[in-house]
C-alpha cells in the first residue's frame, strides 16, 4: 500500500518536474532571456526608448520561458491567451492604431512652414531600398527582402505591418531589429553625420519657421490623405489612420477623441504590441541564421538612410540661395524615428554652436519620414503583396 502511494507520489513529482521550465530549458531560451534582460537594462539604465524596450524586453522573457508544448501557453499555440493578443500583430491590426495615436500627437507645423523639408523625408527612404537590394543579393526571397528593407524606414509599426503581410515568419526578428536600432539612433547616426558634413556646414543657421495658420493645419491631413492614398492606396491603413489622428488634433473640435487616441489608446496598443512582439521571439523560431542576417541588414539600412538624408540636404543646398540653406545635420531626421533622430540633430548641432537650435527644423523631415516610410511600405506591399 505504502509502496504504491510513494510510487504514485514519485510519478506525479516526476511528471510535474517534466512540465517545469527547468526540464525544458535549452541554450536558446537562456540566450534569449539574456537578450531580454539586456533590453530591459538598456531601457532603465540608459533610458533608450524605455516605452518600447521595457515591453519588448519583458515580452522576450515571457516568450522564452521554457514549457512543455501543447498546453495552450505559448504565443504560437492556437487558443492561448498570448496567441489571441498576438492576433493584432499577425493581422496588422495594432500598427494602424499606433499610427492613429501618432497622428493625434504630431504637430506638422514645422513641415507646413517649410514644405521643402518633406523631400528630406523622401530621400531617407533610400535606406529601405538599399537594404532590399542587399537582402536580394544575400539570397532572401523578394517578399522577405521587402519586409527586411522596411527596417530602414526606422518605423516600428510600419515594419510590423509590412512584415506581417510579406514575411510573417520573420516578423519577430524584423520588429525587434527595427525597435532596437530605433533605440540606438543616438549611437548610430552621429558618426555618419560628422563624417559627411564639413565644420562650416554644421554651423548653418536656418530661418526660424513662420507661424502656421489653423486653416493650414486642418488642410494638411485632408490634402495629405487624398494625395498620398490616391497615389499609393496600399498605404491606406497606415496613412489613413495617421492623417485621421492628425485631423482629430487639428480640427479643434474633437479634443476628447484626440486626447484618447494620443493618450490611453496608443499606450494600450504600445503595451500589447511591445509585449507580443517580444514574446514572438521564442528561441525556437528566433535564433536562426536568417535572424542574424536581418539584424545585420537592419544596421546597414539605418546607415544608408542616415547618409542619404544628410547627402540629400547637401545636394539640395547647391540649389538654394544663401540664407535659405538647410543645415545638413537635420538630414538624419528623415528616418522616421520620431523624435529621437530630430533630437540627435539638435544635440549634434548644439555641440558645434551653442545657440543653433535645430530641433524644430529637424522635426519637419522627421514627420515627413513617417509619411515617406508609410508610402514606401505601401509601394512594397503593392508590388510584392
Amino acid at each position: 500500500m505504502e509502496t504504491g502511494f510513494f510510487s504514485f507520489l514519485g510519478g506525479n513529482l516526476a511528471e510535474f518536474i517534466g512540465f517545469t521550465g527547468f526540464a525544458n530549458v535549452t541554450w536558446g531560451h537562456l540566450i534569449m532571456i539574456v537578450v531580454g534582460l539586456f533590453f530591459i537594462a538598456l531601457a532603465i539604465v540608459k533610458r533608450f526608448e524605455p516605452m518600447l524596450l521595457i515591453p519588448i524586453g519583458f515580452g522576450i522573457l515571457v516568450g522564452n520561458i521554457p514549457f512543455f508544448p501543447g498546453l495552450q501557453i505559448g504565443i504560437y499555440e492556437d487558443g492561448s491567451v498570448l496567441n489571441y493578443l498576438y492576433f493584432g500583430v499577425l493581422k496588422g491590426l495594432y500598427p494602424p492604431l499606433i499610427f492613429l495615436g501618432i497622428g493625434a500627437m504630431t504637430d506638422f507645423s514645422a513641415l507646413i512652414s517649410n514644405p521643402k523639408l518633406m523631400l528630406i523625408g523622401a530621400a531617407a527612404q533610400f535606406g529601405i531600398f538599399g537594404a532590399y537590394m542587399i537582402a536580394l543579393a544575400l539570397g532572401f526571397s523578394a517578399s522577405e527582402a521587402g519586409a527586411i528593407g522596411i527596417i530602414g524606414g526606422a518605423d516600428g509599426p510600419t515594419a510590423i505591418f509590412l512584415s506581417s503581410k510579406l514575411a510573417p515568419d520573420l516578423m519577430g526578428a524584423i520588429a525587434v531589429s527595427a525597435y532596437s536600432y530605433m533605440a540606438l539612433v543616438p549611437v548610430i547616426q552621429p558618426p555618419i553625420m560628422r563624417l559627411l558634413t564639413t565644420p562650416k556646414e554644421r554651423l548653418i543657421r536656418m530661418r526660424p519657421p513662420r507661424v502656421v495658420s489653423q486653416t493650414e493645419k486642418v488642410l494638411f491631413p485632408i490634402i495629405g490623405l487624398l494625395l498620398t492614398c490616391f497615389l499609393v492606396p496600399s498605404g491606406l491603413p497606415l496613412l489613413g489612420m495617421l492623417f485621421f489622428g492628425n485631423l482629430l488634433k487639428e480640427s479643434g473640435v474633437t479634443k476628447r477623441l484626440a486626447n484618447t487616441a494620443s493618450g490611453p489608446m496608443i499606450d494600450i496598443v504600445t503595451i500589447l504590441i511591445g509585449l507580443t512582439v517580444g514574446a514572438s521571439t521564442q528561441a525556437t523560431t528566433f535564433l536562426t541564421v536568417k535572424s542574424v542576417g536581418i539584424f545585420m541588414l537592419g544596421a546597414i539600412s539605418f546607415v544608408i538612410a542616415t547618409a542619404a538624408g544628410v547627402l540629400f540636404v547637401k545636394i539640395l543646398n547647391l540649389f538654394l540661395k544663401e540664407g535659405n540653406k538647410i543645415n545638413p545635420l537635420i538630414g538624419n531626421a528623415g528616418v522616421s524615428a520620431v523624435p529621437d533622430s530630430a533630437r540627435v540633430s539638435q544635440e549634434i548641432g548644439l555641440r558645434y554652436d551653442r545657440t543653433n537650435y535645430l530641433l524644430m527644423h529637424a522635426m519637419g523631415p522627421n514627420v515627413a519620414g513617417v509619411i515617406g516610410s508609410a508610402v514606401a511600405a505601401g509601394v512594397l506591399l503593392g508590388f510584392l503583396g
Binding site: A122, L136, A142, L166, E216, L219, V232, F383
Partner: protein, 303 residues
C-alpha cells in the same frame, strides 16, 4: 432652406445605403464551378451522386444568398429554385464557397434544387428581386463528360480566368489546384537585383512628397500673402489717421493703455504667502476607533 436640403439628402442616403450594400453583397457572388454528369464524384448528404453547382463569394464580407434564385430557364418557375431563408448556412463567408446539389427533387433541404443541370445548358443566379441576373453561365450539354466539372480557371498568373473544363473537381474549394509562382517571385525574376523596384518605389515616394510640397508651398504662399495684405491694410489705416468709423491712433493708444492697466491689476499669483504647517492635534474623531466599534450593551442590573 439649406438645412432642409441637407436633411433630405441624409434621409435619402440612409434609405439608399441598405440597397447599395445588398447590391454590393450579391454582386460578389458568382457561379464558380458546376458538374453536370456526376457518376463517381462528390456525394450529397444522402450518399447520392447528382450534378452540383458551386457558388463563390469573391468579396470580403459575409453574403447571405437566402431569398435569391438559381434557375436553368430564366422566367420558368418550374425550373427556378428559390434559396430558402432562415438557414444560417446560406451565409457565404468572405472568399468562401457553398455547393447546391441539382437532383431535381427540391424537397431534401436548403441545398437541393428542383431542377437538374442536364436540361437547358444555361444556369442563372438571380437576385432576391427575381429580376436582376447576378451571374449566368452557358455550357454545351453534348460536350459534358462524366465527372468532368467546368468552372472558372486561371491558366496563367496575371491572366483573367476563363470558363472551361477544370483539371480536377473541387467542390467547396478553390478551382486553381496548380500552384503559380507568387507575385513577389515573378517580380524578382524580372528584377533580380532590385534596381527597378528601388527606382520605381523611390520615384513614388518622392512624387507623393513633392506633390505635398507643391500644394503646401502654394497654400503657404497664399497664407503669407493674405497676412501681408492684412498687415498692409492696418498699416494704411494707422497712417491715414482715420478711415471711416475706425478709431484713430490716440483712441487705440488709450485703449491699449487701459488694457495694460487692467491686465496689471489681474494677477494669478497672490501676494499672500501660503504656508502649510503640520497640525499637532492629539485627538481627532476621524481617527478615533471608538466611533467605528460596536458599542457594548449597557448592563442593567435588577434590583
Amino acid at each position: 432652406m439649406g438645412r432642409l436640403i441637407i436633411r433630405k439628402t441624409l434621409v435619402w442616403l440612409v434609405c439608399l445605403c441598405p440597397a447599395v450594400l445588398w447590391a454590393q453583397g450579391m454582386k460578389d457572388i458568382r457561379i464558380n464551378e458546376i458538374l453536370v454528369k456526376n457518376v463517381d464524384s462528390y456525394e450529397d448528404d444522402y450518399g447520392h451522386r447528382v450534378g452540383w453547382v458551386e457558388l463563390f463569394n469573391s468579396g470580403y464580407s459575409n453574403v447571405n444568398v437566402a431569398g435569391s434564385y438559381l434557375s436553368i430557364d430564366f422566367g420558368n418557375k418550374s425550373m427556378t429554385y428559390k434559396i430558402p431563408k432562415n438557414d444560417p448556412r446560406t451565409i457565404i463567408p468572405p472568399q468562401g464557397y457553398v455547393v447546391f446539389f441539382a437532383d431535381g427533387i427540391g424537397s431534401k433541404g436548403t441545398f437541393y434544387t428542383n431542377f437538374t443541370l442536364d436540361q437547358t445548358g444555361r444556369l442563372y443566379l438571380i437576385d432576391a428581386n427575381g429580376r436582376t441576373v447576378v451571374d449566368s453561365v452557358r455550357y454545351d450539354l453534348s460536350a459534358m463528360k462524366e465527372d468532368q466539372s467546368i468552372g472558372w480557371k486561371v491558366e496563367a498568373a496575371g491572366v483573367d480566368p476563363v470558363w472551361t473544363e477544370l483539371d480536377a473537381t473541387t467542390p467547396g474549394a478553390v478551382n486553381d489546384v496548380v500552384e503559380f509562382e507568387s507575385k513577389a517571385e515573378l517580380f524578382r525574376q524580372h528584377d533580380p537585383k532590385g534596381f527597378i523596384m528601388s527606382i520605381t518605389a523611390m520615384s513614388v515616394v518622392f512624387l507623393a512628397l513633392i506633390l505635398l510640397y507643391l500644394v503646401f508651398k502654394q497654400v503657404g504662399k497664399s497664407h503669407v500673402k493674405r497676412a501681408k495684405n492684412k498687415a498692409a491694410a492696418s498699416a494704411a489705416v494707422a497712417a491715414t489717421g482715420s478711415s471711416g468709423d475706425a478709431p484713430n491712433g490716440e483712441i487705440i493708444a488709450a485703449i491699449a493703455i487701459a488694457l495694460k492697466k487692467y491686465e496689471e491689476d489681474l494677477h494669478d499669483i497672490e501676494s499672500t504667502v501660503l504656508t502649510i504647517n503640520r497640525v499637532a492635534k492629539a485627538y481627532s474623531p476621524w481617527s478615533s476607533k471608538i466611533y467605528s466599534m460596536v458599542q457594548a450593551p449597557e448592563r442593567k442590573s435588577r434590583r
